[in-house]
């Protein structure tokens, strides 16, 4: 199994961070790390508790969703990961969790509004919430279609996957990504905190409006613009 040692280690470390950050209960989540040159990614095996994971147990899958190496079945969400890797050439890691607050917003079928600078430091618009897909797609290749649902809704929302690295899938839960799986894990923790803060903000002031454009722009540019200088 020495062919894919790097991504096995990365995927393992990332999966182990999910319970450490309080983002998963039992096996309700999965992380994958891609080796784009080899056209494969390492992903959590299906249904194995985090306490029993090891780098060797990660399953190597190609961008068409075919298992390349590994004796265990890959996560049931593998096809979603595969679709995104195939179409998004600069993504190196993907994470899916059922984290509590992010999932609650997804279940509420509501995007997470930009109420403050914590949010704007990461994305300039609401975290989008893709609507549930139509019944035909659901009864078909469901996880594969979930990948397209994510890509299409991001595009409809006027967002680019290189700048907005998080989405809610309606009635389901968050997906995040990044240039590395470590960044994707970071984004999973961030979207959970944004979801929690936005929930509380609306409870405190139900008439609250999204933050004004000048402040969104400033914070996003602090972190992402050509003159970026952010870092607390």
């Amino acid at each position: 199994m020495n062919n894919y040692e790097d991504i096995r280690e990365e995927a393992y470390a990332a999966n182990m961070q999910l319970p450490a950050f309080g983002l998963v209960l039992f096996t309700f989540g999965n992380a994958s790390a891609a080796d784009r040159k080899k056209g494969v990614f390492a992903i959590k095996p299906s249904g194995v508790p985090y306490s029993e994971l090891s780098p060797e147990k990660m399953v190597i899958v190609d961008f068409d969703g075919q298992t390349v190496e590994g004796n265990l079945r890959p996560s049931s969400d593998t096809q979603t990961h595969a679709v995104l890797y195939k179409h998004w050439s600069e993504v190196g890691g993907i994470v899916h969790t059922h984290s509590t607050y992010g999932t609650a917003w997804a279940q509420a079928l509501e995007p997470i509004p930009v109420f403050g600078t914590t949010h704007a430091d990461h994305t300039t618009l609401a975290v989008p919430c893709a609507p549930p897909m139509d019944d035909k797609k659901i009864s078909g290749n469901y996880e594969y279609e979930t990948g397209f649902q994510i890509m299409e809704h991001l595009e409809i929302s006027g967002l680019n996957y290189k700048e907005t690295e998080m989405i809610l899938v309606g009635n389901h839960a968050p997906f995040t990504w990044g240039s590395t799986v470590e960044k994707a894990v970071y984004n999973s923790a961030v979207v959970e905190e944004l979801a929690r803060m936005a929930f509380l903000t609306m409870q405190i002031n139900p008439a609250v409006q999204p933050m004004k454009a000048a402040l969104i722009k400033k914070h996003y540019e602090r972190k992402h613009g050509s003159d970026s200088y952010y870092g607390q």
Copy 2:
């Protein structure tokens, strides 16, 4: 006490998981494990703190609720466990907790609606909430009647104990079960998380509707159907 070593160990381990998962405060909960061939179950002794439990302290009780072995008094909820074991021939473990969110839904006398796939992965309908029993039964053999209250409400709700392994008892708290006590503990943690997510979902969007049927069906079949393949 070597006769029932297996179920003593299982019941002990399960009881110890309840505080580890944050599902009980002090002694507000109990788990039991059955040996169906011998027609008995091991259950937590009454009022003993979790920190002082041991396999030897578990009390062995038959399905009529009579103590078979043990010097300590069994949990005050023992009769409820006995009734369920007696009538549900494929149940191997039962757990009762006063976990915070599950208990809040039980106190609100509301079933937990299916708002997302996290829920549908476990049961296709709302987690039912049995109404409080009539005053006569309350003043009679209360814990024994609680068992019947659970069975009757599950039936009225069109649910089968083999598929829906969790219920709320109105004004009281959740009960869960499974083929093993380990599965019943898992179900206790799951119902608490479903309760928490559903609470947040309704706070974010008070007009939210239950998830559509096609998605419920898909997710349940991923995990339970003849072609099940689920495992994150």
Copy 3:
């Protein structure tokens, strides 16, 4: 300091449990243990962080609030403790915290309704909330008057300190007591959990009514009546 070794140890252990149970931030709470034969109690010294406490640092105070032994100043709430020990002859321990949910109900000036059996296992009526005292008493011997405020409101509410061992002081926070300080700490953790559950219950179902009388009676008698048998 050997005269009061027992209550020093008890008060120390009880104070240390408050941060362990998540009931206090910094020094926002205090516990005391009485030796009723000697007419004194041991209480936390004022403003000392929990991490620096020791049995030797506990201050010994009599039921009139006079320091009997100890170089440190006793907690600023000492007079409240003294008044309650003086008038309630069967109380052996008192605890005061600013635990989050209990304090929120006190700040809302609302008693905690009986919504379920978790509550009824401990008291048959709402946890009372004493109104803020009049301005004259506030500007006088405030902590001393707080003791009377507690006693008077308990009496007005038709409650006996031997059966209801917890109260909210309006705009302030919970006080609890018991035959031992260990029991008073237990009651502090219980009132916090009852407060949290009741908050959630009302959020889930704003029209919820208190639990019916037959069920309250049953649960209270399980634990407290002459035929008590409770213990989960």
Copy 4:
């Protein structure tokens, strides 16, 4: 680097307390400690994870915001700290976090009302919430202007920085300060707890009014007046 060893150690210890108290996720916060005689402060370097901090990595900056010593870039919020040190001659430490509840109130653009004695023990008025600054200032020297925004809103609110050591910056998050950075960290933990309790108080009783003046006065004087005696 021996010139500023004391404030390096103090700033390091304070920054490490922020994750320990649960006040920051990743690097969403920063603490600084001033040496007023030397006219400099030590502050967290930009973007460095807490787990990789050390006293040596702290950056030494003067009150005009110029780096005096250190190879790393100082926190992006450094100019805000510098402005406050320059104008508030008795401040020895400043802390900024994006703690969950404090940030939610800031995002809601609402001051935190005085609902109870926990709050009044620390400040007699609502914790103020500075409005977002005008677009011109945002697009200018944003962090520098944030310092003035804080000072001006405190003054408009009739508050003195020596008595009220905490503020919310609208759409952003809390800032706190104190005679030492240790006190500023304490204030950060306090404002988060006040924010959480006030949120819950308003959820329980939406019609709740701020606490009456006599009680505010009493509690504040217990802790701050010339006859102060507070300490739980």
